[in-house]
Symmetry: C2
Subunit: 290 residues, 2 copies
């Protein structure tokens, strides 16, 4: 859609503004600051701002009304998939969405030191590394790099991996999966990831690193996942616990049973469209999310 090549300064502004429009930070229907104000704000010339706006307009994200201003077009904020922090995707299937996996790479390698350390491998021990891309309704939303100790990896085939979730394969192989530890951050897309996820280099990404252990404390999987934040985000409900003076949040433990009931209360913020109805309390609904 957008022109093949484009000025860089203009493109940066374009990307920034697009971000703010898509995640609802700039509210649909509202007016942007004037081109001159934007130019001043970013310290660039009006011509450059215009180029960015041109692209936005050709994307259908804004309406430009001469004499009046530039407006955010309605109905554009895209609702990302909301993942429970347990990061299980089966509810997507329940919701009738078509998911898919593309296996980009499958090999046995000498793992990076950081991976070896977190899995607790012996020096020189090799891992099976797979790179996969997950799709929802044909659109890629995550880029997954997993490392599994070689001796475990050999219990399933490349074809298995292309069709079955990794944890399922591990458990099928008799590995007992019990504990994991994960951390969430953010990064920029490099050329390979950008390509695989259909993004521009330099787009923001949610990053998740998870290490899974069996009951003996032996690492069985190291996952490094990158998510398109416009298509995927993490969600969790919290309750306030603890005594006065030491109060804190704790996650709400969710029942393992799953119902077909869809998410009803989605967090709103600068990052999602607004529901009209008043939010319902959590306890009044069963959250689905398995």
């Amino acid at each position: 859609m957008a022109d093949a090549v484009e000025p860089l300064k203009a493109r940066r502004i374009y990307l920034l503004l697009r971000e703010r429009i898509l995640n609802g930070d700039l509210e649909p229907g509202s007016r942007l600051p004037g081109e001159l104000s934007i130019a001043a704000g970013y310290g660039i010339s009006r011509v450059t701002v215009r180029r960015a706006l041109d692209t936005l307009a050709s994307d259908g994200l804004i309406d430009r009304r001469p004499g009046s201003g530039t407006f955010v077009r309605e109905g554009n904020s895209v609702q990302p998939i909301v993942a429970d922090l347990s990061n299980v995707l089966s509810h997507l299937v329940e919701m009738g969405r078509r998911t898919g996996v593309r296996l980009l790479s499958f090999a046995y390698v000498n793992p990076p030191e950081s991976v070896a350390a977190s899995l607790g491998l012996e020096p020189g021990e090799r891992t099976q590394r797979s790179i996969r891309v997950r799709l929802i309704d044909g659109a890629p939303f995550s880029y997954l790099v997993t490392h599994v100790p070689e001796r475990i990896g050999v219990t399933y085939s490349e074809a298995d991996l292309a069709s079955t979730p990794l944890l399922g394969l591990l458990e099928r192989s008799g590995v007992v999966v019990e504990e994991a530890s994960q951390s969430i951050g953010a990064t920029l897309a490099g050329p390979d990831v950008a390509d695989a996820l259909g993004l521009e280099i330099g787009s923001p990404l949610l990053s998740l690193t998870r290490v899974v252990w069996d009951p003996s404390g032996q690492g069985v999987e190291h996952l490094h996942a990158l998510y398109r934040p416009d298509r995927y985000s993490f969600h969790m409900d919290l309750v306030r616990t603890g005594a006065v003076g030491a109060r804190r949040w704790n996650p709400v433990a969710k029942p393992a049973t799953a119902g077909p009931e869809p998410h009803k209360r989605i967090i709103k913020g600068p990052e999602s469209p607004k529901p009209k109805s008043r939010p319902v309390r959590v306890s009044n609904q069963r959250r689905t999310s398995t």
Copy 2:
């Protein structure tokens, strides 16, 4: 440190490479691909790659050895603050780190529609909006925008906010805080945020949106937080629960009691340096994190 102005394409490569070095994706001591390979990989010329490498070298992140190659200098990956998902910072204080807050803005406003909707406000109801920046050891790491319904906001002053955590003020005012819902995503830094956090425009950010309700289901706080991922990340421990065929992850509920014991097991991934020792199982230690 870096030159004031810099080519844009070169700068993008610089930022990308810096990311990968700082979070350990490019391992300390390892050799980068040759300048020509990099150039080919990103589809740019060698001269441009060189400019990026020049900046990295002047940052002290790489060593360039003529005839041999370019190497990632050791000891550069910065450990981000690891926040528990309960997102409480008091453990930082326990660890003897100096934290601070800068209040950038304090005003009563007509909230964005998305905020009004998620708080369940009446049409036209105003909110108190504050913008704060949190510092650790003098370095900014988070940018917080909060909205509180006006009638609650008036129970504390601007000075209160500059010195006391918002939730504390709310509870002091008799508001009962019980439930919250939050989602985590990623974005790019705009000019204002970049400025406040000491970043470049276009840097990646962790984004957190949280809505807090009182027991009646009335929203009392809407928080939109942006974190520098190099200084802050979320961490959580999970256990595998549920019957076969419906197994899933659940967060480990942490005790409300806090001990001075520091984090011992940090997730390793492309995003943190490597410990030498084999990881210890979670259950063997008390995690601190209140």
